[in-house]
């Protein structure tokens, strides 16, 4: 079966001006050669620390910015080809952002916010408005009470429900949730997560869940992609990743989860230091500066993503051809 999204060699470089008068230029490779597939009906979680390129990836997927290199195919068609014009593609893939306030137009009422997009895409007002009301009802906001309100009259949780309804108004196939529940209070977060899980079943959606919260990603996702400084570190089915991680970075990230047990407090940090500055990333494997297993080969060459069944990992220790001394004892890690 053709994957819904095929991402190949995706790259995004931003120019950074150094020097007082913009003389010296350098680049940030925010996304540096990303390959993955998104299958119909799955939820792909994307995790990683700030600067790893999660949000840039989301924006590239929606064609909110142009990639420096690489391709994205949707349902077998190149985006922008005669079979899949950009406007049609944009209808099929929608996004919910972290900042529920900034992502809504303050001059539009809730009803207008939701109906606006479909109307731009050619739906008549007499159709779009009743549908907006139905969607409001579906996301738990009573249309009679909320349709006429402005966004500043809503709480954070209510605004995020409006954003979800707005995204669904296009009848999309894919929803990209970029830290969509991160800004919400814990008591509200659970409500919105549950709503998203219900909507996914009801509308047969495919999700990409981008989050720094490993617990939320574990709860929502069927597969998880771990990114580090613009590259894929590891990609595996959720429970495999959380219980048998292979990349030392994934293991460190999971080791940073706090126990919730006062008698089993964390005694040592799994890794030291901060993520390096993406303007000047380390050569070879980008994780080698913080990796407890790093050896000579890791600073020389970048590991390739090695796939074994459904589990892909980019680490010299898991590639017998790499010359890493750890490569033979893969399973012991």
């Amino acid at each position: 079966m053709t994957p819904l999204l095929e991402v190949r060699g995706l790259e995004k470089r931003f120019t950074v001006k150094k020097g007082l008068f913009g003389g010296v230029r350098s680049y940030v490779s925010a996304v540096d050669g990303l390959d993955f597939d998104l299958h119909e009906g799955e939820t792909l979680g994307v995790v990683g620390e700030s600067g790893c390129g999660k949000s840039t990836t989301a924006r590239l997927l929606l064609h909110l910015m142009k990639p420096t290199a690489g391709s994205i195919r949707f349902a077998g068609h190149a985006v922008g080809s005669p079979n899949l014009p950009l406007k049609e593609f944009r209808r099929q893939i929608q996004m919910v952002f972290q900042d529920s306030y900034a992502s809504l137009n303050p001059r539009l009422t809730v009803e207008e916010s939701i109906a606006f997009g479909p109307m731009v895409h050619g739906t008549a007002r007499r159709e779009a408005v009743p549908r907006a009301h139905a969607l409001l009802d579906r996301v738990g906001l009573h249309p009679a009470r909320f349709a006429g309100r402005f966004t500043h009259e809503l709480s954070g949780g209510q605004r995020q429900r409006v954003n979800i309804a707005r995204a669904l108004a296009f009848r999309p196939r894919v929803l990209v949730l970029d830290e969509a529940v991160s800004a919400l209070d814990k008591s509200v977060e659970a409500q919105v997560i549950n709503l998203l899980l219900d909507l996914k079943e009801e509308f047969s959606l495919t999700y990409i869940v981008i989050s720094h919260d490993l617990e939320v990603v574990r709860f929502m996702s069927s597969r998880v992609l771990v990114m580090y400084l613009g590259r894929v570190a590891e990609l595996a089915p959720t429970e495999t990743l959380y219980t048998q991680s292979r990349h030392p970075y994934t293991t460190a990230l999971l080791g940073s989860l706090l126990s919730m047990d006062p008698d089993r407090r964390t005694e040592a940090a799994p890794i030291s230091g901060d993520p390096p500055n993406p303007i000047d990333p380390p050569a070879g494997c980008r994780f080698h500066t913080r990796c407890p297993y790093a050896e000579a080969v890791c600073s020389r060459s970048a590991p390739v993503l090695t796939v074994e069944g459904a589990h892909a990992v980019a680490c010299h220790r898991h590639n017998a051809a790499s010359g890493s001394s750890g490569a033979s004892q893969t399973e012991a890690v």
């Binding site: 709480s155 209070d185 549950n194 460190a252």
Partner: protein, 342 residues
């Protein structure tokens, strides 16, 4: 609110007698808005020497407002603060501006959530620490720099001598937070206040900063109030937890008791609503219904009642008084009979 008669401060066990810091019936009202809003409404808290208390709550619960009141950081012309705050025998509310300047940093110091905003961008971090040191103690520049260097080593900043001459924007997020902690500790305070110090950090860095704060707190015997919205962070650092809701402490007790035997329906809800571990296909999270309260329009009675599964008429009639459910474990709930069996 008319319920002050029921607000007898209930002290938690031994902490009361040896309190280094005590807050009694603190009420903070912001008057600069179109309608006055009471953000903190009758908070009692006692902190013993070397003790760590976590203030846990969601946005608007009053946790940060309580913390900032201890240093009197709220704008005096737009805030009405009532109640008593004592630190080491000093009446904080009665301090003159000059005394307050000595008190801040020297007796009580603070680590903020966003070091990029708390540090001055036009001075190197070294200059800022040296300035703080010399403001409180008669030190030469050389001596002050030596002390600053020792502080940087203490907070485990690599190549500390070079980093002292760095500007805040030249440091990574974790490094900046370490520098902020060094600055906060520069004048050997008795009490350290930490306002979500790890919230803005990445997961792998958050653990490092939590461990650093915990080690320093033990080494220096600091008393610490740690404000957080994340219960798992509270579990890592605190001896006791105070859960806040709508400007009040609704549950307080030893970390073990609160996490394992929570008795306030809100705490119970917060603990069960966390997504953790794998899920079974099709499962949903247990969620607390409704939204956090609007402080300008609080219902009469218990502010959690509209969201509470156990709410009865008594809850909606009056604010429940504190109930001691076990030694040192106090809950502001009228239905502790119902939550005992949960």
């Amino acid at each position: 609110m008319g319920d002050t008669a029921t607000e007898k401060p209930v002290q938690a066990g031994a902490a009361a007698t040896a309190a280094l810091l005590s807050i009694e019936n603190l009420r903070v009202t912001f008057t600069g808005l179109s309608k006055p809003v009471t953000a903190v409404d009758g908070v009692d808290l006692a902190l013993a020497r070397g003790e760590v208390v976590a203030l846990l709550g969601e946005s608007g619960s009053g946790k940060s407002v309580t913390l900032r009141s201890i240093l009197r950081l709220h704008a005096a012309n737009k805030t009405r603060i009532e109640g008593r705050i004592h630190v080491d025998g000093v009446d904080v509310m009665a301090l003159s501006p000059g005394e307050l300047a000595q008190f801040r940093g020297k007796t009580v110091s603070m680590v903020f959530q966003e070091p990029m905003l708390a540090l001055d961008p036009v001075y190197t971090v070294g200059q800022q620490i040296i300035e703080a040191l010399r403001r409180h103690e008669p030190l030469s520049k050389t001596e002050a720099r030596r002390r600053a260097l020792a502080l940087f080593e203490q907070v485990r900043i690599p190549s500390p001598d070079r980093r002292l001459d760095a500007y805040p924007h030249e440091m990574s997020g974790g490094m900046r937070q370490r520098a902020m902690i060094a600055l906060a500790l520069s004048c050997n305070p008795r009490v350290l206040l930490a306002d979500e110090p790890t919230t803005a950090l990445d997961a792998t860095v958050q653990v490092q900063i939590l461990l650093l704060l915990r080690d320093l707190q033990r080494q220096l015997g600091l008393a610490m109030i740690f404000v957080t919205h994340d219960i798992s962070v509270a579990v890592e650092v605190a001896d006791r937890v105070a859960v806040m809701y709508a400007g009040r402490i609704v549950e307080m007790g030893a970390v073990r008791d609160v996490v394992r035997r929570p008795r306030h329906p809100y705490t119970i809800g917060l603990l069960s609503t966390r997504a953790h571990g794998g899920k079974l296909a099709g499962t949903r999270l247990p969620a607390i219904p409704g939204s956090p309260p609007d402080l300008a329009n609080l219902p009469p009675g218990c502010p959690y009642a509209p969201r509470c599964a156990h709410a009865a008429d008594v809850c909606r009639a009056a604010t429940p008084p504190p109930v001691t459910v076990a030694e040192g474990h106090v809950v502001r709930c009228a239905r502790t009979d119902a939550t005992a069996s949960l």
